[in-house]
Amino acid sequence: MKSRIWHILTVLIVLSFLVACGPQTPQKPKLPEKIVVGCLEPLTGAYAVFGTEAKIGMEIAVRHINESGGIQSLGGIPLELVVEDSGETADSARLGAESIISKHRPVAILGLYISRMTIAASEVTEREKVILVADALVDSVTQIGRRYLFRPAPKASQHGATAVEFVVAAAKNAGVPMQRIAILNEDSSFGRSNAIGAVQAALDNGLTIVYQKEYPYDIADATSIVADIKAAKPDFVVHCPYFMDAILFANTFKEAQAIPKFVAGMGACGYTDPESVKALGATANYYMNTYSYNPAKNTPQNRKFVEDFKAQVGHIPTEAAGMNYYAMWVLKEALELSGQMFPDDPLNPDNLRQAFLKLDLTSGPAVETYPTDRITFTETGDNPYARAVVLQVINGEPKVVYPFEYAETEAVFPRPDANY
């Protein structure tokens, strides 16, 4: 009796393997009434604040795209956004990706903001051949051989490079020699990617790295690091903080009377965000950070986006909102190009991927809201022309100061309150 049951069970297991792995009937390509795009962002948990802003950015972009006539090369098909919460862990992100694909079969998914969630979900999008337009900035997201993943926003190392390039350019303008650099970062993969970009840019510009340190993001006392930095006598410090540590370092620099000629933040966290500015008060002045979106870019499309966002949410678009606004426009341009290149089957994931790789945008709504003036993608899915913008706190207000052609105001450089 026992052995018979086991025999039956074994047969059942083998059978279910065979059926579940069996071939599926291929579907004929047919243009839908609406092109479904997925928004998969952390809408609950620790990163909800970013995910929610990102979702609003996407919603406004879809509205603007549809108002401007949808995807024209496909006969004006409008976009439809479907939203799913990715939670805050790798497994919930993966479940979210499986769920949104099985329910809606979107042509592309925008999102996941956090790198480890993006990587977990991208295994699903790769298998299902769904384009993933990522807004997570850690370099490794595009270094693991994903074919259907594209990232328009500047990656973390490009943030690091922007911070160094800004200081070099500003120093040249001001006629102040800035040769010795100290590099500092919190110890997440994001912090490290930023620092790698800064190191590379420092070497490219012939600077001398006199000090480098990685520290835990929840550091409680920065006195010894600040003392070490002062002893190394850098001309300027490039720093990728998390949030609270930016406040800690700014206060320690001041208390220890060890403010260098310039402190350049990188990676969009700390120093210039509203909470840090509030917490630091007057100490926040002259600190800067790099951002993946330029709310002050004076172009018609960007002004329209900022106005609509402000009317809906009450403040100017944050980085997460801006990144996803232009990401949606980049997707729109790729769909347009796919329609021209592959009129028979424009929504086929491989065709859409080809269109992404062929994109070379230098004008239009995507570029008008983008930090630089060119969007194109390498085989790995990054834009080699991506750069961040620099916001500096001047009189308690974060202002765009770099790139110089899109600056709101002139940078204060070097710091007037430097101690050495």
Binding site: L43, T44, V83, G87, R94, S102, K103, R116, A120, D187
Partner: protein
């Protein structure tokens, strides 16, 4: 009555197992349903393992994330560095988890740390390991480490579909349930239940509580460590955030909601709560952020209010009633 109960129990269990085995047939290649089912099984294994230390021995352990992370890192590191198959890696991961459990459990039990203090110490353990692995650059570090990608490799335990993971997890769940059942029937089980009720009284009666608790802790750590190895292969990378506090708490919640010490309780709780949570997340998460967490929390509160002894006894009552009716007819 006794005879009919036993007669019905075994075929019923085989029927349930058969349904579980056939489930992928029903969902065919819908990967979302498969990953959901696999996740339910995963939490089922973790909660069943927890039920040994938490349910039987009454120790409110909040360190599942620590053992899961150790299993994942052992398996992942062995595979990435030396191409050691995860089949071996997960067993070694389980042993590493045991080693660590003994290292921490011995002093804790030796000095009589219990109740909330044990809960707090075990919760702290997860965070300590997370930070340690973030600093330990040779093995952990802040950057994710990826397992080699294979469309279908039994040796590397890497597949492009969840189907094999579903069956592996199902097998592990059956093993965990058998172990729990066996412990419950054994001398160790009675000792554990005695010390779970009243530790001092058990000691007076001659139970070596420290040894029993260490045994329970080791079995629990081993099962969770093995699960960690499979978890790493399923997600394809390892990262110190695998040492997760919220996940540890969730495992304990499933164990408690399922009914402390009842063999099938945590599995039921996993089936009910994980699928309810996921259903709510998938259907409400996009509409109103956080609404699904409110609904989920309400379900938990209702269970705590009306079924403080968990869902297990409820099912047992219903089952007994059904049996009684069958016997009458």
């Amino acid at each position: 009555m006794r005879r009919s109960r036993k007669d019905i129990n075994r075929p019923l269990l085989i029927l349930l197992l058969g349904i579980a085995v056939l489930l992928p047939l029903v969902v065919r290649s819908n990967q979302y349903t498969l990953v959901l089912l696999t996740t339910i099984l995963l939490y089922g294994v973790l909660a069943t393992a927890w039920n040994i230390i938490g349910g039987l021995a009454g120790q409110l352990d909040l360190a599942a994330g620590a053992y899961l992370g150790l299993g994942a890192f052992t398996t992942g590191t062995l595979l990435i560095r030396w191409n050691v198959s995860p089949w071996l890696g997960m067993v070694l991961g389980g042993l590493v988890a045991i080693g660590f459990a003994l290292l921490v459990g011995y002093p804790l039990f030796r000095f009589g740390v219990k109740e909330v203090w044990y809960a707090l110490s075990s919760a702290a353990l997860v965070e300590v390991l997370r930070v340690a692995f973030l600093i330990w650059n040779q093995v952990g570090g802040p950057v994710e480490r990826y397992l080699p990608y294979h469309e279908w490799s039994l040796y590397h335990l890497r597949f492009a579909t969840y189907l094999p993971f579903f069956y592996i997890m199902l097998g592990l769940l059956v093993l965990a349930l058998l172990i729990h059942h066996w412990i419950r029937q054994s001398k160790l089980g009675y000792y554990l239940m005695a010390l779970g009720e009243n530790e001092e009284a058990a000691e007076v009666l001659g139970v070596n509580t420290q040894k029993c608790k260490l045994q329970a802790l080791s079995i629990y750590a081993f099962l969770v460590g093995v699960t960690g190895g499979i978890y790493a292969c399923m997600y394809g990378f390892i990262h110190p955030n695998f040492f997760s506090g919220p996940m540890s708490t969730e495992v304990a919640i499933l164990g408690i909601v399922g009914g402390m010490g009842i063999t099938y309780g945590p599995v039921m709780a996993a089936i009910l709560l994980v699928s309810v949570r996921e259903f709510l997340r998938a259907n409400l998460g996009g509409q109103l952020e956080g609404l699904y967490l409110v609904v989920y929390a309400t379900v938990l509160i209702l269970i705590a209010l009306f079924r403080p002894q968990g869902l297990g006894p409820l099912l047992r009552q219903a089952y007994d009633r059904l049996l009684a009716r069958v016997a009458k007819e």
